[in-house]
């Protein structure tokens, strides 16, 4: 088939002659027994793409139901299942694994390492995703249907759910274990396997953001595991952590969940910042402005993310001091985030820019993500949040940062690095169609939701007062266009690339791109940097 899927016979100029006859398995064994970071990266990306499509179908069912007031397609029970599973699948099945896929592919070749530190654990952490993903999807077919308490699985509503809740909890546990293993692997790889001559402060930004993200993951995934385990024992073993009937505290669940949940949202955006920080300099043909401050800004976002969870809970009835603390702390996050935006724009300033698809998505990211950042600031203000919490305003806000943020960055990253992965260039026309189509339909879908939220339309509603009808209709139409744009991406960009269709990619397809990934041929050989490369002073080039 293709460069990506073919059995690797190409060897880069870095591979040893003696390794020519390596004994990698072929056929299905190549994937099931995969220990090569590139193969595992591909598996991660394909898995997350599948989940993205599945989660997207659920989203479109939601939007179809909400196209008009009244129930037309689904009953309220199924509607709640759809919103819940859309959230869980997108967060845990699509976005998180996709970034791990990027990390697997790019981190070793960006730091000049031969592979990830723990190759077999890498295999395990991927293959754990499959049963977990199957479990999440299978909940729909269980008696009583899928969990329907929202992706935040607030107790004590979860105590009322049917058996599918237990299956979802088990699935989340497995996903958590997988994430922790992935993170350990990434941390050890980055800290120990950088090529000589690459100190941390010369490391590509994508590696930096992932290093920080990995620490966040290790810190908070066990917290989620704790929360859902307590839910499980409340459900079946007579404990009452969250069950008020036994003296438990439902708000405690929210504290624990959001202590995980808020760092989690940075887990989903920091690697995106990393990707954007690589792409903007490449297409501005100018070094990243303020590299050091970018590293510090990312770290401070990570640290702050642990002390702001309460802003998800302003309506639970915090005392004055609690509301003030969480409001101030949350608003502080605007500072490092602003620094990042300023640095990207300063990188573009007086550059020599071209706008191939990766750059389009990167600029689109900066523009639209910033809107999500501003609405985040508005949500952070406790008195205003009282009005908009649990309304469509919040739905708009987090889709601006997760879709126009994380997802756009992944598209940018895909267009930027796929020539290296597949050995073929994507079609620039198709890339541009995908970008403009996505950008416009995204805004048509989610911008009206700000108005709906301000007007007080609560989220997770299967039906709504008629005054909200028009904006909902617009959002639904936009959502279907957005969905088709992603189908177009899969059918006309990804699949052709996997089948090796397209212009052969040069080693460095982007004039201004710097970094070790562009020092190896396209497609990247099966094994790279088997011996550590010698780097120049900037740690971006190999010296012979």
């Amino acid at each position: 088939m293709s460069a990506v899927l073919d059995h690797p016979s190409v060897h880069g100029h870095h591979s040893h002659a003696g390794h020519d006859a390596h004994h990698a398995p072929t056929g299905w064994r190549r994937w099931v027994y995969a220990t090569n970071h590139k193969d595992i990266g591909t598996l991660y990306l394909l898995f997350s793409l599948t989940m993205l499509m599945l989660g997207g179908v659920l989203a479109l069912l939601i939007r179809a139901e909400l196209f008009q007031p009244g129930l037309q397609f689904v009953n309220p029970e199924l509607f709640n299942q759809l919103t819940t599973m859309h959230g869980l699948i997108m967060v845990f099945g699509a976005i998180m694994p996709a970034f791990v896929g990027f990390a697997n592919w790019m981190i070793p070749i960006q730091i000049g390492a031969s592979d990830m530190a723990f190759a077999r654990m890498n295999n395990f952490s991927f293959w754990l995703l499959i049963p977990a993903g199957v479990m999440l999807v299978a909940t729909f077919f269980m008696p009583g249907g899928a969990p329907s308490g929202g992706w935040t699985i607030y107790a004590p509503l979860t105590l009322q759910m049917g058996p599918s809740m237990d299956v979802a909890i088990f699935g989340l546990h497995i996903l958590g274990a997988s994430s922790i293993m992935g993170s350990i692997n990434i941390i050890v790889t980055i800290l120990n396997m950088r090529a000589p001559g690459m100190p941390l402060m010369k490391m590509p930004m994508f590696c930096w953001t992932w290093l920080i993200t990995a620490f966040l993951l290790i810190a908070v995934m066990p917290v989620l595991a704790g929360a859902i385990t307590m839910t499980l024992t409340d459900r079946h073993f007579g404990t009452s952590f969250f069950n008020p009937a036994g003296g438990g505290d439902p708000v405690l669940f929210q504290h624990i969940f959001w202590f995980f949940g808020h760092p989690e949202v940075y887990i989903m955006i920091l690697p995106a910042f990393g990707i954007i920080s690589q792409i903007v300099p490449a297409f501005a043909r100018k070094k990243l402005f303020g590299y050091t401050s970018m590293v510090y800004a990312t770290s401070s976002i990570a640290v702050l993310s642990f002390i702001v969870w309460g802003h998800h809970m302003f309506t639970t009835g915090f005392p004055v001091a609690g509301q003030l603390f969480f409001m101030y702390a949350t608003m502080l996050i605007a500072v490092p985030t602003a620094v990042k935006i300023f640095n990207w724009i300063a990188t573009m300033w007086r550059g020599s820019m071209t706008f191939e698809t990766p750059m389009l998505f990167a600029v689109g990211f900066i523009f639209v993500f910033t809107m999500g950042g501003f609405t985040g600031l508005i949500c952070a203000m406790a008195p205003v949040d009282i009005q908009i919490q649990d309304t469509y305003y919040v739905v708009a806000h987090f889709h601006y940062v997760l879709v126009a943020g994380s997802l756009y960055a992944m598209f940018a990253g895909y267009y930027y690095w796929s020539p290296k992965w597949t050995g073929v260039m994507y079609s620039e026309t198709r890339g541009k169609i995908h970008f403009w189509w996505s950008l416009i339909s995204f805004n048509v879908t989610f911008f009206p939701m700000h108005f709906l939220g301000l007007a007080g339309m609560p989220r997770r509603y299967a039906d709504y007062p008629m005054q909200f009808a028009d904006f909902n209709a617009v959002a639904s139409v936009g959502a279907f266009f957005f969905g088709f744009a992603q189908l177009y991406f899969v059918l006309f960009v990804v699949i052709p690339a996997m089948r090796g269709k397209g212009q052969p990619a040069p080693q460095r397809p982007w004039e201004g791109a710097e970094g070790l990934e562009w020092e190896i041929p396209s497609p990247a050989p099966f094994h790279t940097f088997e011996t550590p490369p010698k780097l120049d002073a900037s740690a971006t080039k190999i010296v012979a």
Partner: protein, 393 residues
Amino acid sequence: MTRMYKEAKALKTSFAGAVLMTTWAGLAHAVQDLPGGPAVNQLNLHPAVTKIAESQAWLHWFMLIICAIIFVLVFSVMFYSIWKHRKSVGHKAADFHESLTVEVVWTAIPFLIVIGMALPATKVIIAMKDTTNADVTIKVTGMQWRWGYDYLRGEGEGIGFISALDRAQRELSNEGGPKSGADVVDYLLKVDKPLVVPVGRKVRIITTSNDVIHSWAVPSFGVHQDAIPGFVRDTWFMAEKVGDYYGQCAKICGKEHAYMPIHVKVLSSGDYTAWVEGEKKKMAALADDPSKVWALAELVKRGEKVYAANCAACHLPSGKGQAAIKPLDGSPIVLDADHGKQIETVLKGRNVMPSWKALSDTDIAAVITYTKNNWSNKTGQLVQPAEITQARK
């Protein structure tokens, strides 16, 4: 402050007008604004009826304007750069990539802006949390999927009732919503019995819940407080205008989450007093004697109403149930000559079914009797309120 708010309001009106005229004219649903509830294609927060809601609206405009200014400034720089510093216009890349001064400046400026934003909010938070010296205290109990209102203190003390969505509207929803062209102005917002409060007096709302977390939110008052089972939380409002105000449950609480609206009727002092008196009289007349012994037909008739108001949403009017919800028609528990199991189910809930202990003994007895003698269930059994009183002990 006020001037800025007024300007912002004018801006909003003209923007809303433009949007209405151009984009939305002619879309299918002809519907009017609902005063105190949502307006058609409303673009901003509800018109404020309390001081708190007014400050919230002011803060929102304040934030929105600052954010919009920053947005325009930052992105004009970006788009200027995109326009001028392109390779295709022959721009050569400069070589700068570090400046401590610049970094310090653009860390400090956002920091100061953020402080400036948070300060006015602080005052509002403190005011929002001050629930002391209330004139009327009302306990709001969230339950799947209705609101219970109990007047605990102040004028009206002792009044208590349950407020649920109008049943016809709930059925309308199942039927696919209001027909095109139909103007159901309060669709999904009409309740059988609104909460009634006096104008210009401080009303303290104490929230709690019987089952899962709900959230009592009335946008016009700027009030939004979770109702948490096992705990009490409070909030307050002082409505400045007589009228009807609407809200909806804001925290996902299960299947009928979208169907538990809030309707608050604000009355003038005199009207409120009259309402309280009327209510008290009605309560006295309606009070059931739980030791009364009922005849079958009488109890079935009452049970039919209780069933329709509380049970039919899940078990369906046909008693057939749906998906995880068990049918009552032909159910062994319902048919059982031993009443205990069914009484326990109603009082304590079972699996997905919540507890219905909030209903009165007479209502529970009536609805159980009704299910035992309706559809194909012709048991002839009669459950008296006294049995429920006994079972509660």
